[in-house]
Amino acid sequence: MTEAPLLQVRDLVHEFRTDLGTVHAVSGVSFDVRAGETLGIVGETGSGKSTLARSILQAPRPTSGEVIFRGEDLAGLRGARLLQARRHLQMVFQDPFGSLDPKWRVRDLVEEPLIAYKTGDRNARRRRVDEVLELVGLAQYGGRRPTELSGGQAQRVAIARAVALSPALIICDEAVSSLDVLIQAQVLNLFERLRAELGLSYLFIAHDLALVKQVSDQVAVMYLGKLCEVGPGEAVYRQPLHPYTRALLDSVPDTTTARAATTIRGEPPSPVHPPSGCRFRTRCPRAEQRCADEEPAMRELAAGHSVACHFPLVPVAGTTVRSEERIGETS
C-alpha cells in the first residue's frame, strides 16, 4: 500500500455567472499530488488553470467537488479550521510586486505570515525570517523595500513568505513567467532546491510546456476547463496521447529542431459555450461525429498515463493498450 496522496482533487467544478452567461472555467477536474512530488499543469489562456489554483485554496470556493488536502476536505471547512488547513498550502503568483506591499521592508514582509499564524515569540520569528531569507539567497536584503528589488529578487521574497510557515504544498501560478530567462533559471533552481531540502510538493501551473516538464514528476494538460491528458512528464513528452498535447509540443520553438512544422488552427472556443462532447473537437484534426456526441472519459492507456480522447494517438509499438478492467485496479 502506498501513502494517501497529499492533495486529492475530485471532480472539481468552478463556474461563474457573467452578463454573457455562465462561464464554465473548471468542469470536473480530478488529480492527485503525492508528497514530495511536483504535478505540473499546462494550459493556455482561458484553460481555467488559474481558476483551478484559486479554487483549490477555496478563494473563492468552487461550485462543487472535493479538495482533500492532508486528509481533510477543504470544501467542508470554515473559518479558523480552513485557515489552519491553509497554513500548509501556500501560493506564489506571477507578479511578485503585486503581492508585496511597497512600503514594507523585506524582513517584515516575510514575518507577516508568521504573525498571522501566531507563530512563536518575536525573537523566534526573527530567527525564522533570517533562516528563510538565507534559504532563498536574500540574507543581505532584509532591510530593503520591494521598490529596491529586481523582479527576480521580489519573486524570492514571495517564495520566502510562502515557505516561512513550512508548508507541505506550494501552488505556483505562472511563478516564473514574467522573469528574464537567466533569472527564471535561477528561480527554477531555487524551487528545486527547496523541494529537496524541505520535502516540499508543488502544483506548478504554467503555459510553457518545456518549463513545466523541467520541474515536474507528473504533467497534466488542461484545455477549456478539463484535463485532457495526465502522465509522467517524460511519457507525455515522448509519447503524447492527446492531439492537443501533440499540438502544444509542435508549437514549442526550438533552435535545435528548426521551426514548428504544424500549428493548430483557430482559437479556443468561449468557456461560456464550450463544445459538446470533447471540448477540443472543434480544432482537432482527428475529430469525428462521436467526439461531438459523447464526452471522452479519462482512461489509462499506459502505466500512470491517461488520456480523455476517443481517438488517442496510438502509442508506437512496444506499449500495449490496457484493458478496461485493469484500469479499475490501478486507481
Binding site: 493556455e44 489562456t45 529586481s150 528574464d180 530567462v181 537567466l182 533569472i183 527564471q184 533559471a185 535561477q186 527554477l188 533552481n189 528545486e192 503555459h207 510553457d208 510546456l209 518545456a210 518549463l211 516538464k213 523541467q214 520541474v215 515536474s216 514528476d217 512528464g233 517524460e234 513528452y237 499540438a247 502544444l248 509540443l249 509542435d250 508549437s251 514549442v252 520553438p253 526550438d254 533552435t255 535545435t256 529542431t257 528548426a258 521551426r259 514548428a260 500549428t263 493548430i264 488552427r265 483557430g266 482559437e267
Partner: protein, 330 residues
Amino acid sequence: MTEALLDIEDLRVTFTAHGRGRGREVRAVDGVTYSVYAGQTLAIVGESGSGKTVSCRALMGLLPPGAEVTGSARFQGTELIGLTDDQLREHRGANVAMVFQDPARSLNPTMRVGAQIAEAVRAHRDVSKAQARQRAIDLLRLVRMPLPERRSAEYPHQLSGGMRQRVMIAIALACRPRLLIADEATTALDVTTQAQIMELMLELQAELGMALMFISHDLGLAGAYADEVIVMYAGRIVEQAPAAELAGHIRMPYTQALFEAIPRLERPAHAPLPVIGGRPPDPAMLPQGCSFEPRCRRAADDCRAAAPPLAEHEPGHRWACWHPVDGGQS
C-alpha cells in the same frame, strides 16, 4: 551581397539618469552596427534593458524626449538620424512599421478595428473613406482574420489576443512597408497562438517581399524563425551569426549562458539548469572592460582591461569576446 535595406552604423542612444546616479549618462545603446537586407528575417535577442527595443525605437523616431541619438541609420540611402518629426512620420508606415507586445494598449478601445485600420490607410494614402474601409477588410483578409467583414465592425475587446495582434499587423501593413519590426509581438500570446502569428509574419514577409526584424528575449524563438540572429547585452551587440550557424557554434559566453538557461523538453526533469549569477551592469555605470566580465566563467585580466571589439572572426559570424567558447585566444 545585395545592397542593404537598412544600414546602421555606430548607433548610440543616451539618456540622462534620474534618481540614483542622477545627472549621469545612461548609455542605453552603446555603438551598434548592423545591416538588414530585403527579404531577410533578423532577430535581435536580449534581456530586459539590453537596448534591443531602444535601438529599434530610435529608427522609428519613437524615443522619449531627452534621448540623444548619434551615429547613422540609412534606410535605402536616406539618413534617418536627425530627421524632423514630420519627415519621420512620413518614413514610419511607408518604409518601416512596428508591431508591439501589447495590442490591447496600442488599439483604441472605443473604435471599431476596421475604422482603425482605415485610419492608418488614409494617413498615408489619398483615398476615399469607402476605399479605405474596403482596404481595411482586404488587410484583415491578408492577415488571415476569420470572417474579416464581421470582425472589422467589432471593437478590440471583442477579439482574442491573437486576433488583436492580427489587427496590429494589418495596421502596420497598411502602407506596405519595406521593413516590419515586431517588438516582442508574440511574447504575451499562448504558445499555439505564438506559432500561428510567427507563421503569419513569415508568410506575409514572403508574399510582400518585406524584411522582418523581430525583437525577442527568447533565443529559442529567434533560432527557430530567423535567418540571422543578433544578441545584445548592455547596449552592445555581443554576437551575430546566421541562425543555423549559431545553433551549433555559439562563441560568446553570454549567448551560451542564455542558451543553456532555457528549459528544454529534451532535458530530464529536475536536472538543475546551468545558471550564471549576477545581473546586467547598470547602464549609467558601464565597466571599462567587457560588460559581461563580472558574470563570465571565462573572464580573465584582459577582459577587465578593455572591452573586446565586435569583429567577424569567422565568415558571417561576429562576436565580441577575448576568450570565446570552443576556441582559444582570438
